[in-house]
Symmetry: C2
Subunit: 384 residues, 2 copies
Amino acid sequence: MDDAMTDDWYAVIPAGGTGSRLWPISRRNKPKFLYDILGQGRTLLQSTYDRLARRMDPDHICVVTGWRHVDEVRRQLPQLPTRNILAEPVQRDSTAAIALAAAVMAKRHGKHIVIGSFAADHVIRGMDAFDEAVEQAVVAARAGYLATIGIAASRPSTAFGYIHEGNSLADELPAASRARKVLRFVEKPDAVTAQSYLSTGEYRWNAGMFMMRVDMLFDFLRSHKPQIATAIEEIADVIVQADDGSQDAAARIDEVMARHWHGIEKIAFDYAVAEPLSLNGGVAVVPGDFGWDDVGDFNSVAALLPSANERNVKIVGNEDDVVLLDSAGDVVVPASGRTVALLGVNDMVVADTPDALLVAPRARSQEVKDMVKVLAQQGRGEVL
Amino acid sequence: MDDAMTDDWYAVIPAGGTGSRLWPISRRNKPKFLYDILGQGRTLLQSTYDRLARRMDPDHICVVTGWRHVDEVRRQLPQLPTRNILAEPVQRDSTAAIALAAAVMAKRHGKHIVIGSFAADHVIRGMDAFDEAVEQAVVAARAGYLATIGIAASRPSTAFGYIHEGNSLADELPAASRARKVLRFVEKPDAVTAQSYLSTGEYRWNAGMFMMRVDMLFDFLRSHKPQIATAIEEIADVIVQADDGSQDAAARIDEVMARHWHGIEKIAFDYAVAEPLSLNGGVAVVPGDFGWDDVGDFNSVAALLPSANERNVKIVGNEDDVVLLDSAGDVVVPASGRTVALLGVNDMVVADTPDALLVAPRARSQEVKDMVKVLAQQGRGEVL
């Protein structure tokens, strides 16, 4: 990666979402990206930041998160300039978050910059492959494409969306020789459809990583989502004006946010920008040959962890707190310091935190969010 | 029950055993009899005491327990005279415990008294039926029998021993018209054998309740277990001498206990006394038409509790701490104050205490003691 490239590209880490399928580890007030779920010594957010900071100045990285998490984000990322942590009064999905960061960075650094979006709660293994894919994606973005990274689909997952690849862009973009046009984005498929995708060899997982020139992003938003574009630009203006550190800067940001943010359409970047652009051949995909997971539920956590024993039990935390007798295939989270004793327990999730315990079959990991809904309905906000 | 009868009969509550199949509720330092496992407002020990104290002066009741539990027993049974709590330096099974209480009571109240033994951790429902059975058993005991109470076998349980009933003793003992001779005691049977017992109508569960004249008990022990008889009598002498409250009384008791107790044979009353006596026609059984269970494991606890919901979930503790989604047939012990959330969990035990959690299928309730062994082997004494 040459210096010229790093100069004009920036990254936003949208750190929203409560990760309710990982309750009781993930909480409203401390979502999963703030945890070291895989026991690597760094939280998911820190790992995301680390991946970017290897090749990028900290001032090029921006985190958009809920206002309740700002202090913790600051604590976890002390190198990140404070002005690069943007606080949402309420979640407005990824289009608003990415557009806000894009607008702020462009107003600070110039409108031709490329912005890349990298979710705070993904796990990636294989740094060199990641860097290579990002580098080619940035080349494609600089050339005017919305560039995404398509993950090698290692199994017919029904939990992810897919990207259908078209022709190579190698001739058009020699510096992004592996880039291809995107024919279309497809929703999470059923198992049979997922299998058929894999057998064609033309589909990759959509990891929601997008790189795009900010001027092109706002050209698109102004014509297709004008309300979002107008509100975001107004907010970004105030945020950047506040860079001078004047006494009432924070108050002015709060005021403009309170006025506009709530009214912004809540829509994912995939639907608002990526899919419409793909219909006109405006999206490129670069293959990502690295390990990737979105750490969406306990099954996903299990897949990312080495087994604690020969019976395929996965432990998120201190193995010394877990005592197993004739138990196999479980995901155990000993997060309360207590002894967790499993006798004859197979293929279950047992997640033990200081104020709440979850027990469920691994096969029902996706339904943990339903349990969270029940807890909310019952007014048990203190454990959400 | 007339006054003459109550004057000459006494009761011992052997409160030993750790109840390891009920771990982590039941602990070495606080065994199950010290808990209100069924949420009745009284512990198992208190309920046992209450049953006896309805018809008996507190000074007629004696508890034999481990020295670590003496303070808690005293706290739970403030009406019980302190001198009637006998502390074991180490467990020596029921023969030693019953014989010690019998000897102490006889030295205080006269050798012709009848002593009855009632385990501290049994649950009984139907007080009048209990009183009636005990009354007839005392009549039989006073006449020279070892009298026991045979529980109506409501199912072919393989967890209990059985009593094979012989001829009626109604002619011999008009005041114990329902008493019968015991043909033999039989061990816990397999399921087929248990079913065959039930079909004969001649078998009842052995609840380990025994009533006997103390003079006859010691006559038997002196000839069949002389070492036990000698040691117990020596200890009992010192305990009763200490009734004067002299300054070194406690020291003298400790000294005689330290000298003799450890060497006493560790053997259940059933094997040492009841079975041998039954071979010579010396045992009578009175039918007990009351609900009974020994609260041996979590399945047993479940059988004794009303369902928390229409899906047959049993909750030992505060139902508000448990959140169920699509779960049935579980036994849940929310004993830590935390929220216990079960999603799609069927027929499991989830026992949640402040320092230890157990998860196991209900079908493996008996094996919880194996988990306790594993914990001990791993040196986790702090949770045992």
